[in-house]
C-alpha cells in the first residue's frame, strides 16, 4: 500500500461513520449512502494525488458524497419524490462548499439506535454497526466473527432490506423505550471498543481510533441517559482499559501483559475520570459496572503483588450472575489462582467447558502451568494457543513465552 492510499484509508476510517450517518439521514437509504461515499472515496483516490489532500478531508468527502447522492437519487425513479425534495434545497449547479466551514451534523447516535434496533437479529446489529459506524470492511468484520465474507455480506444486505421494508425508523427512540434499547447499544459500543483494542488482524494491537470512537459514543449515551448507571459503567470500563494503552505494548510493538506493565505509563486522567464515574453509580450493579470495578481494582493497585485478587474473584462471581460465559469464568479462575494458589486456579479452569478453540484459554492455562514449574505441559499449552491465535502481536508474545520456556528447560533443576 502506498503512503498516499494509506492516508486515504486513515481518513476513511476516521470519517466514514460520521459521513455515512449524515448521508443516510439525507437520503433515507443505507445503500445509496454507502454507494455515494464509496464513489466519493474513488474520486478522492483519483484527484488527491495531484491536487493534494484537502485541509479538512472529512468535509471534502462529505461534500463529494452528497453530490454523488443527489445524482444517484435523480437517476433512481423509486426515489423521485425524495429527489425533488432534495433538489429543491440544493443548488443544481454543484459547487464544492468550503470544506473548512462545512458543518458536519452528528447523526451517529441516530444511526447506532437504528443499527441496534431489536427488530434486527443481534448478528445483524453488530455487523451493521461495525460496517457503518466503525467503517470496517466486510472482510474485517467477517474475520472478527469467524464467518465467510459472503455470509457477512448477505447478513448486511438482509439487515438493510429489513430496515427499509419494515420501516425501522432512523431516529433516537422515545423516552419510554430508550432504557431497553440502550442495552443493545451498549453491547455494540463495547464490541467496537474491543475491535479497536485488540483488532483481530490489525498490524498493531490497538486501533486507537476505534477505541476513541467507542468512548465518544458512550459519552453521548451518558449525556442522553444519565439515569442509567450502566452507561457510566460502560464508559468507566472502556476508560480504564484505554488508560493502559501505552503500557500494553513496548517500543517494538510487543505485547506486555498486565503483571509486567509499567504502571507509570497508565493514563492517570482516564483512571481518575473512570473512578469518579464509578463512585457516582455505587449501588447499581450491572454487567459493565462490575467489569469496570474489576478494572478499577487493577487501576488502584501499585502492582500485581498488591492487587486485591480475592475481591476481584468475588466481583467475577457476581459478574457470572449477569453473564455466565466461559470467558468470564476463565477470568475468575485466573483471579482464584492469584488469591488461592495456582493449583486451585488450574482446577477451576479445567472445569470450564467450551473454551477448547479459544487461544487465551490455552495461554492462561499454560501460564499457570509455567508458574507451577510444569514446563512440558506449559509448552504444550502455549503451542496450542499459538495455533489458534490470529493477532500478530499476541502471536509474538506466545512465541517469546515458548522461547523463554525452551531456554529455561535447559537449566538443570535445582538440587
Amino acid at each position: 500500500m502506498s503512503s498516499f492510499s494509506a492516508s486515504l484509508d486513515a481518513v476513511f476510517r476516521n470519517e466514514s461513520g460520521r459521513i455515512l450517518a449524515s448521508l443516510i439521514r439525507y437520503s433515507g437509504s443505507f445503500d445509496l449512502a454507502e454507494e455515494a461515499l464509496q464513489d466519493a472515496c474513488e474520486i478522492a483516490a483519483r484527484t488527491w494525488p495531484s491536487s493534494g489532500v484537502p485541509g479538512n478531508p472529512g468535509a471534502w468527502l462529505t461534500a463529494a458524497a452528497r453530490r454523488r447522492l443527489i445524482d444517484a437519487i435523480r437517476r433512481d425513479r423509486l426515489h423521485r419524490e425524495k429527489g425533488a425534495e432534495l433538489l429543491a434545497t440544493t443548488p443544481t449547479e454543484f459547487e464544492m462548499p468550503d470544506p473548512e466551514v462545512i458543518e458536519l451534523p452528528d447523526d451517529r447516535l441516530r444511526l447506532i439506535f437504528t443499527c441496534c434496533h431489536p427488530a434486527l437479529n443481534p448478528e445483524a446489529q453488530l455487523a451493521l454497526t461495525l460496517r457503518t459506524l466503525g467503517g470496517l470492511t466486510t472482510d474485517e468484520i467477517a474475520r472478527a466473527f469467524l464467518i465467510p465474507e459472503a455470509t457477512l455480506a448477505q447478513r448486511l444486505v438482509r439487515a438493510k432490506t429489513k430496515i427499509r421494508q419494515a420501516g425501522i425508523p432512523y431516529e433516537v427512540p422515545s423516552r419510554d423505550s430508550i432504557a431497553e434499547r440502550s442495552e443493545a447499544v451498549r453491547a455494540v459500543i463495547y464490541l467496537i471498543f474491543n475491535e479497536g483494542y485488540a483488532a483481530t488482524f490489525a498490524p498493531s494491537l490497538v486501533r486507537a481510533d476505534l477505541c476513541a470512537e467507542a468512548i465518544r459514543l458512550a459519552r453521548v449515551l451518558c449525556e442522553l441517559l444519565p439515569v442509567d448507571p450502566e452507561n457510566r459503567g460502560l464508559l468507566a470500563l472502556m476508560l480504564l482499559q484505554d488508560s493502559r494503552r501505552a503500557a500494553r505494548t513496548d517500543n517494538d510493538g510487543n505485547l506486555v501483559t498486565l503483571d509486567e506493565q509499567d504502571r507509570a505509563k497508565w493514563n492517570p486522567a482516564k483512571i481518575i475520570e473512570a473512578l469518579a464515574l464509578l463512585m457516582r453509580s455505587a449501588p447499581a450493579y450491572g454487567r459493565y459496572t462490575l467489569e469496570a470495578r474489576i478494572a478499577a481494582e487493577h487501576a488502584r493497585s501499585a502492582g500485581t503483588g498488591e492487587t486485591d485478587w480475592a475481591e476481584i474473584a468475588r466481583l467475577y462471581s457476581d459478574l457470572c450472575l449477569f453473564c455466565k460465559t466461559p470467558v468470564v469464568e476463565l477470568n475468575r479462575a485466573v483471579a482464584v489462582a492469584m488469591s488461592e494458589g495456582f493449583e486451585m486456579g488450574l482446577a477451576v479452569m479445567d472445569q470450564i467447558p467450551g473454551l477448547e478453540s479459544f487461544h487465551l484459554f490455552h495461554a492462561a492455562r499454560a501460564d499457570l502451568l509455567r508458574r507451577l514449574g510444569r514446563s512440558q505441559a506449559a509448552l504444550a499449552g502455549y503451542s496450542r494457543a499459538l495455533e489458534l491465535v490470529t493477532n500478530p502481536v499476541e502471536r509474538a508474545y506466545l512465541q517469546r513465552r515458548i522461547a523463554a520456556l525452551d531456554s529455561a528447560g535447559r537449566v538443570p533443576p535445582l538440587p
Binding site: 434496533h117 427488530a119 419494515a166 420501516g167 425501522i168 425508523p169 422515545s174
Partner: protein, 139 residues
Amino acid sequence: MSPNRRTSESGQPAPNIDNLKEPAMQYLLAIYTQESAAAQATPEDMKAMMGAYYAFTMEIKEKGVYLGGNALQPTTTATTVRVREGNTITTDGPFAETREQLGGYYLVNCENLDEAIAYAAKIPGAAFGSIEIRPVWAM
C-alpha cells in the same frame, strides 16, 4: 373452488377518513393467542376482554391509525385449500399447527416500525399471546 374470503374483506368498519394521517406505512398486526385458554375463559373474563379490545379499537380510530381489523372464528372452523397439478385439495383445519393460533388482526397506518410496535404492545392479546407485525407490501 370457492375460497372462503369472509374474514378478509367483508365486515371491516370504514376507517375514520377525517382523522387519517398522511400515508406512511401500513402494518398488519396479527394477533396470536392460545385458543384453548380462550375456550376456558369465564363469561366475565370474555366481557372484560371484549371491553379492552373495544377501548383499544376506539383509541386507534381516534388517532387515525386504524385501517381495519377483525376477530376470527377459532381454527376449528378453518379450511385450508391447495391447488396441485390442477386439483383442488381441501382439508379441514389451519395451514399449520402452532402453539398459538391466529385469532384476529388489525391493519394500521403508522409512521414507522417503532410506532407499530408501540400500538402492538397495547393490543390486549399482547399481554398473554404474541403480536406479529408485518409491513404491507407497498404497491
